[in-house]
């Protein structure tokens, strides 16, 4: 802690005091025509600013110190991966941890209150949507800002089919997925040739169009007042009590998460999955290597949207009430945050991202009004110090019998 450091932090503190002065200190009420002065807040800002700038620079230095220039590969040294990441790829750790985790997850609903089960189910729904969006954004690199629309398609599919035709949850599940895909194709054909942020804005527009239509077309969607009393899922002919139903949906979601993980994991190292990643890495090179990028993009889009549709059906069944307010742009942004914060392309990362981002605000209820503020800070801090997300994608390695030293090369 040198003098220079202290000076820098003092400067930062002074700057923050100055910066926050009007908004923090003066509270004007133009209705009552009153002015309040909160000088004490200036002190908080000063102390906070000082500490913050100290920690900030300390961690920034640590981050930069840790990032050495790309190690020369000739040394055959594995790339420096974080300890945690190495740990989870270590079978000796991963297997017992998986067993313990599996057991914990199975007994979870019997150990904790219904509230815990409920928010865990919500988090699991986000795990599924996060993994779905991960295919589009994380793996194929298509920035998609209208994902909630496909989620809405699923939810309204179940709600409306049930209302008009009494379609059961189990039938609605595949229909929701199918309709999600159909909408993805409708959107995908015209827009997928757009690049980067243009694609982002068109998907955003599409998401808003779906929401606004749901909001305005009362005859079809019952407008902003939504659809109530959507039945919870039944298991064959058992009728559950509310509490049993919560547990049932929890296990249902758990099964869906497993299915999603299974599918995305298989896709990750498949011919199509590799094409998606190549698309993300370099569109031009990808096309030059003989990959039909239009079809590849569309397949990623459809795949991701199918999961959104399916998750939407469960969402409607869990909440029993839906209206367009649940499918705003903000919802799409939250799911995008899950993917990026968790680690683009990394399945485990996205799962962790969903759990953190959805459970964090719930557990932050203790800080009630500060929770969204903290949420914003967490997003910024996470991105600054771990821009790649919690876990980064790890590619599969292949072993060859003949050993790596023998290379019958041409040169």
């Amino acid at each position: 802690m040198t003098l220079g450091e202290i000076k820098k932090s003092l400067l930062a503190a002074a700057w923050f005091m100055f910066l926050t002065f009007p908004i923090m200190v003066i509270k004007v009420n133009t209705i009552q025509k009153t002015v309040e002065w909160h000088w004490e807040r200036l002190l908080y800002v000063a102390v906070g600013g000082f500490v913050f700038s100290f920690l900030w620079r300390y961690f920034l230095r640590r981050k930069q110190g840790g990032r050495r220039p790309a190690a020369p590969v000739e040394t055959d040294e594995p790339e420096a991966v974080p300890a945690f990441q190495r740990l989870i790829h270590d079978r000796r750790f991963a297997m017992p941890a998986l067993v313990v985790l599996g057991l914990f997850v199975l007994v979870f609903p019997y150990l904790f209150s219904m509230y815990q089960v409920n928010i865990m189910t919500t988090a699991l729904i986000y795990v599924v949507t996060g993994l779905g969006l991960n295919v589009v954004v994380g793996v194929a690199g298509l920035l998609h800002l209208g994902y909630a629309a496909f989620y809405a398609v699923g939810a309204y599919t179940y709600a409306l089919l049930n209302l008009h035709f009494g379609v059961s949850f189990w039938l609605a599940l595949p229909i929701g997925a199918a309709l999600g895909s159909v909408f993805a194709v409708i959107l995908g054909f015209p827009v997928l040739r757009l690049r980067g942020d243009y694609l982002a804005i068109v998907t955003l527009g599409f998401g808003e169009i779906i929401r606004l239509v749901l909001e305005n077309w009362n005859d079809f969607s019952y407008g902003p007042s939504g659809i109530a009393n959507i039945p919870r899922p039944k298991f064959f002919w058992f009728d559950f009590s509310l509490e049993q139903s919560a547990v049932f949906i929890y296990f249902l979601m758990l099964a869906m998460v497993l299915l999603t993980v299974f599918v995305t994991n298989r896709l990750k190292d498949s011919r199509i999955g590799r094409a998606w990643i190549a698309l993300r890495e370099d569109e031009v090179a990808c096309q030059a290597m003989g990959i039909d990028i239009a079809r590849t993009k569309l397949s990623a889009f459809v795949m991701g949207s199918a999961w959104a549709g399916m998750a939407g059906v469960v969402f409607a069944a869990k909440t029993t009430f839906i209206n367009p307010a649940s499918f705003t742009l903000w919802e799409s942004i939250v799911i995008l945050c899950i993917v990026v914060l968790g680690g683009m392309g990394s399945i485990l990362g996205v799962i962790l991202g969903a759990l953190v981002l959805i459970l964090l605000p719930e557990y932050l209820r203790a800080f009630s009004e500060y929770r969204m503020l903290i949420f914003g800070v967490v997003l910024v801090v996470m991105m600054v110090f771990r821009p790649g997300g919690i876990l980064s994608e790890v590619r599969r390695t292949y072993l060859f019998k003949e050993g790596l030293s023998k290379d019958g090369s041409l040169s």
Partner: protein
């Protein structure tokens, strides 16, 4: 490496368990738990926060007098940001935490989503602000009560006033595409048409839009006798201001969403002459005056919207528990339906549907910068 790994593993599991055990463990009942649920954050926070304050003031009062049934009142807050899916989480949280009664939720949609969770746990719920007609009249929610009259009544009052007093022939019904606004406007349109008045415009404007002059020009072209606004005051003040600036003197009428001091303060001189329906004037009610004063003392400002309703709902709920002598669902709801209680919105009880008896709507007009009862 191996030892290290297993240690890390153990630590990770411990952390997990600790996190999940963090909350949700039931406590012994030595207090009466009043849940307060609604939008406490997000863009609709200003409708939810007054209800927290109302509940705080009432419980502070009652606890200072020793509580009810010998128990103190404890508040449990739940923020649903007016989102149905969060409302169900809030509801299960409150149920898990063992609430006895709930004040809330604020928005009709969130209330609908949450209600059957409370119902299955036999918890009475009373909203100060959810006006959706179905909530009481559909009969689907036997545990639901409210201290605000429902949309139907208000729309009928608007229509009869427009027909009998203003004698209008052509009206424009506008709303904000929201749950409350569109519902209210749809009812108004229906009753206008039943009364033989032509609704020439029925449209939603986008809340938060930066300019409404296009819709104002459209109103002007349609040459209507009355503009009926169904939603909240921020957009209403923008529209009425633009109308007056464009020298249109078409009367403007809103519902309880604009019957708020803020509307007059924001629209200023342009608010003059605007009609609004809203809960009956209680400003002379001593309890209302006292509640307002308590709010000013505690928070240094005038209470926000739905504060009197929330204050009254809290009083009604706690009174019913006291009269019932327990927090048993049947006893409490019976007390709610049979006992009258004096509140800032008048002496009220509840009917079979859960709607308050003894409250009503009046028509106001802005005169010299204040809402004045005219009918």
């Amino acid at each position: 490496m191996k030892r290290y790994a297993s240690k890390r593993c153990l630590a990770a599991i411990l952390v997990c368990v600790a996190v999940f055990a963090f909350s949700g463990v039931g406590l012994a009942q030595d207090t009466i738990k009043l849940g307060v649920a609604g939008a406490h954050s997000g863009d609709l926070a200003s409708y939810g926060i007054p209800s927290i304050r109302a509940a705080e003031l009432v419980t502070k009062d009652i606890n200072a007098k020793g509580g009810i049934l010998g128990k103190k009142i404890e508040l449990l807050l739940g923020d649903d940001a007016c989102k149905p899916e969060l409302a169900t989480n809030v509801a299960t949280k409150l149920v898990s935490d063992g609430v006895n009664v709930v004040l809330g939720h604020i928005c009709s949609g969130a209330t609908k989503a949450a209600l059957n969770i409370y119902a299955s746990a036999s918890i009475p719920v009373m909203s100060p602000s959810a006006t959706n007609t179905e909530l009481t009249l559909s009969g689907d929610y036997p545990n639901f009560f409210r201290t605000i009259a429902y949309d139907d009544l208000q729309a009928r009052l608007q229509v009869s006033f427009a027909r009998d007093v203003l004698k209008v022939k052509r009206v424009a019904c506008l709303h904000d595409k929201g749950d409350y606004g569109k519902g209210q406007s749809t009812l108004a349109k229906q009753f206008f048409e039943e009364a033989g008045i032509e609704v020439v415009l029925f449209e939603g404007v986008t809340p938060g839009a930066v300019d409404y002059s296009a819709i104002v020009q459209k109103i002007k072209r349609e040459n209507v006798d009355l503009v009926v606004w169904g939603a909240y005051h921020p957009e209403a003040s923008k529209i009425v201001t633009l109308m007056r600036k464009k020298k249109m003197d078409t009367p403007f009428m809103g519902a309880d969403g604009i019957k708020d001091e803020t509307f007059i303060k924001v629209a200023g001189e342009f608010a003059e002459g605007v009609f609004a329906t809203g809960p009956r004037d209680n400003t002379k009610n001593p309890l209302f005056i006292a509640a307002k004063k308590a709010h000013q003392d505690a928070f240094g400002e005038d209470p926000g919207v739905f504060f009197p309703e929330a204050y009254s709902a809290t009083l009604a709920l706690l009174n019913a528990i006291e009269k019932a002598g327990s927090t048993d669902f049947d006893a409490v709801t019976k007390a709610l339906r049979s006992e009258y209680v004096d509140t800032p919105v008048g002496s009220i009880s509840f009917d079979q549907n859960g709607d308050a008896i003894g409250i009503g709507f009046s028509v106001y007009q802005v005169k010299n910068g204040v809402f004045t009862t005219i009918q």
